[in-house]
Subunit: 509 residues, 2 copies
């Protein structure tokens, strides 16, 4: 520990330095530099409870408060998404924000280092949830549920390197929809894609594409291209980079870093450049090499079936079968998909501009706004008897969507209302507080969203300003004359139109 | 560490014991006892990642999952409360689930031991939020906000002794409404009470009372009764027990444990037995002893003003000025209040019955469902210049309300719907999957909440059973004849009434 008194002395001296520079009207850089030193000293002092309020006033790294404007946008997005989930008959559940540490152990591979652990204060060892999928699987196994269609919107936690200007946080929302149960092939899978299509359309984020592939096609492809069994996963994660890197660099990583033969890499290169629709699946089923893999054939047949259902669901306009799609997560066992925004519109550019170093990378990858797939083995990992519950699901990249929406609102200088107040009860004269309170009570009791200013004698101007500021559309103005006549003046704030309205409620005569 | 192999051997043996007892049809208690031993052994083995899935399948102590039925109830309660907050013009904010540890330091007195800390994994020291009030104050100070009316519904964390059958958890919701800003006296305070009145009325929890008092009246009373200054807080927390203990026991604690003189205690006893309305405040302002305290007089005048506003707000039927109300939290500076359910109805009895030892205590205190007050100093604790932002707020005891609602739904054997699906698209014949998917797509696209079974050829009976089970009111039945005629049969599930409806959507001819 440093000596507090010493630091406090240093702060005093440094404070003098800053004051002096300011009084001498020194350059901004010079002042900023000395202020930074001062703040650094104060931070070293920390939050000692010495009555001097040396708090560092901030939220933890990688987290943020949502202010009312952000909350209004968040609510709008949540409502759209929830409405869609409910339209498809989903129930919802919630799980605790922390789980037993061992529940998360062994589920996230090397990403496990990003898990937040709680301090051992006696009792169970706990960790903050890392996603909503593992708690969901734990919930199913624990309650022996074999059938459910559920959504879950909640915060998850990762000790990742935050990039908040691009919507990447350590605390962030996930928004998951999953269908668990033994059903006829590809029907629930197709519904997940229908849901992505509906949500992205309704949110009006611009044009989008949904790429689909199948883990079995990838594995089959690796096998027929001569990738050794023990390299499937690592080669798969290299393929996963194709949305950010050109093929030559991906090939280089496969050959130079992962030790794959050039022939194998080139064969993979041919396949992963392919994309199309049901016809491509058909064609690959006839492909002399691909058709040697039973796995690949099973995946390709399912892709065909999936497309036939998607046609009925009217979503094929946005879906493309893309052999380069290889989502990272280990637990996928069948179809996988990912939605990307294709418009090089406001959002990606604006997002990337805040971070010049990674700009080129992020301006591409920012497009991904939903992803998911089939994971038939995860629930079984929690079941003592390893009973499997097939699952397919999708996760909406809600934080990215928030970022886009916020930036759009800002760019359009859109006035986001943060309350839903319909009318402000005001008065033009003094001493009418009682009458205002009586009227606002009538309005509340009638279910109308209403406010009064908490002042005995507010000025009419300041009451009207409040309406403008908060976007309150109507103002009910009380005055002596109106009270005598048993009416209120109701004014439309924007147009200044006024009507006199008779008050029929009990409190008036 | 224990020897895994040893424990595994013990589990095997114990498993045999259980199997034997079961085959011998031993008594339930005997079997349960041996099963408990078996589970205990399995727990000791822990979640070793040995591919044998030795997970303990549970949520952390003091926490729970919400299943779809509980979520449906939770949503209903949240909607009622949120509607009320919005009717009163509140905005909403959200803060991270964890704060810098130092933000929480020194805010909760000896309850600080109940704070969950995160493990130091490098970087900042963090703790889970303990309530929503301190993060709110931090938010105001950090953003230099001096005026806001906001609500915040979110989970908070306390390493308390859980009593889950009574709705007391380590992870639980708080539901806060606060008004920050410098306003004319008692107007926002009265609105908080109006809000409590509206919410408790709308939730139909049974009859209730809202007790009000003022921290300044308590302090003034202690002063004129001769309580030494340094004993105010501790005597106050003894008075706080009056809703659970008879006066004689409270007096005993004051005198025997806290060392108060008998005279002082008796004088306090006279005052804290008083309750009434505005008239009581008036009377106490004339009281020769009480009127000696400036503080008490200020509090009493404000209580009078509060009652006059509450009359205008039409809530005085439920409010009582009660000098025994002494809410524990240190940060209150003015008016305080607490709402209790007064009906000895289903809820308190049922809640208490799960815990015989504390039954008598809990059957009284379970009634408290909302509380709050004025805290004008808290924000200043975060401001480097100690600028004060006066605040008044209320917290709705939402977990207790959930418990009551859940038990009521259970007692009434009420069928709680967990989805909002309006219609199931079904078929009576085989090979109509395509037609079902086409029709459900039309419904979804039209914004109708609809489902199909994920089977190629489900039986009509099982489709109808699904409707009954999930409470789906309508079933649209497709058959060869209907398709030829361009209609669907729409059946009301409960009454079995049927009508033929023409399909006008594009996909049909």
């Amino acid at each position: 520990m440093e000596d507090k008194a010493q630091i406090q002395e240093a702060i005093k001296v440094q404070g003098e330095v800053v004051r002096k520079l300011k009084s001498e009207k020194a350059s901004k850089e010079q002042i900023d530099e000395e202020v930074a030193k001062l703040l650094e000293l104060k931070a070293r002092l920390g939050g000692g409870d010495d009555g001097k309020h040396q708090f560092v006033l901030k939220t933890p790294k990688g987290t943020r408060d949502y202010n009312p404007k952000q909350m209004a946008i968040r609510e709008r997005v949540f409502n759209t998404i929830t409405r869609c989930f409910k339209r498809h008959g989903a129930e919802t559940i919630d799980t605790p924000v922390f789980e037993l540490k061992e529940t998360l152990t062994g589920k996230y591979g090397e990403d496990s280092k990003l898990i937040y652990d709680l301090k051992d204060q006696g009792g169970e060892l706990l960790s903050l949830r890392y996603d909503l999928t593992v708690p969901f699987a734990r919930y199913l196994a624990m309650n022996k549920i074999t059938n459910i269609k559920r959504y879950h919107i909640a915060k998850v936690y990762r000790r990742d390197n935050p990039a908040m200007t691009r919507g990447r946080y350590r605390e962030f929302y996930q928004c998951d929809f999953d269908i668990a149960g033994q059903y006829d092939a590809m029907i629930p899978d197709a519904e997940c894609l229908k849901i992505v299509h509906e949500i992205l359309s309704e949110l009006e984020l611009g044009d989008f594409r949904i790429k689909v592939n199948d883990r079995r096609i990838l594995d089959g492809m690796f096998a027929v291209c001569g990738v050794p069994d023990d390299k499937f996963r690592t080669i798969c994660s290299t393929v996963d980079k194709l949305d950010k890197l050109p093929w030559q660099e991906v090939r280089k990583e496969m050959v130079d870093e992962k030790g794959l033969s050039e022939e194998a890499a080139d064969q993979i290169g041919e396949y992963v450049s392919l994309h199309g629709g049901m016809d491509l699946a058909e064609r690959l089923l006839q492909d002399p090499r691909m058709s040697q893999s039973k796995q690949a054939c099973a995946g390709l047949s399912d892709i065909k079936l999936l497309f036939s259902y998607m046609q009925l669901f009217q979503v094929t306009d946005k879906v493309v079968f893309d052999l380069s799609l290889a989502r990272g997560l280990d637990y996928y066992t069948g179809v996988i998909y990912e939605a990307v925004l294709t418009q090089a519109g406001v959002a990606p550019v604006a997002l990337a501009s805040n971070d010049a170093q990674n700009g080129s990378e992020e301006s591409v990858s920012v497009g991904s706004v939903a992803g998911g797939g089939r994971y038939d083995g995860l629930v079984g990992m929690f079941d003592p008897k390893n009973r499997k519950v097939p699952c397919v699901g999708v996760s909406i990249g809600i934080e990215r969507i928030f970022s886009i929406m916020e930036q759009r609102a800002e760019a359009a200088a859109e006035k986001v209302r943060t309350t839903e107040v319909q009318v402000l009860v005001a008065s033009a004269q003094k001493n009418l507080l009682e009458e205002r309170l009586r009227l606002v009570t009538e309005l509340w009791n009638a279910g109308i969203k209403a406010e009064v200013m908490y002042k005995k004698n507010p000025k009419l101007l300041s009451q009207l300003q409040l309406c403008e500021e908060m976007g309150i559309p109507l103002v009910a103005i009380l005055g002596e004359q109106e009270l005598k006549d048993g009416v209120v003046k109701l004014r439309v704030v924007v147009s200044r139109e006024e009507v006199a309205t008779v008050i029929t409620a009990s409190g008036y005569s």
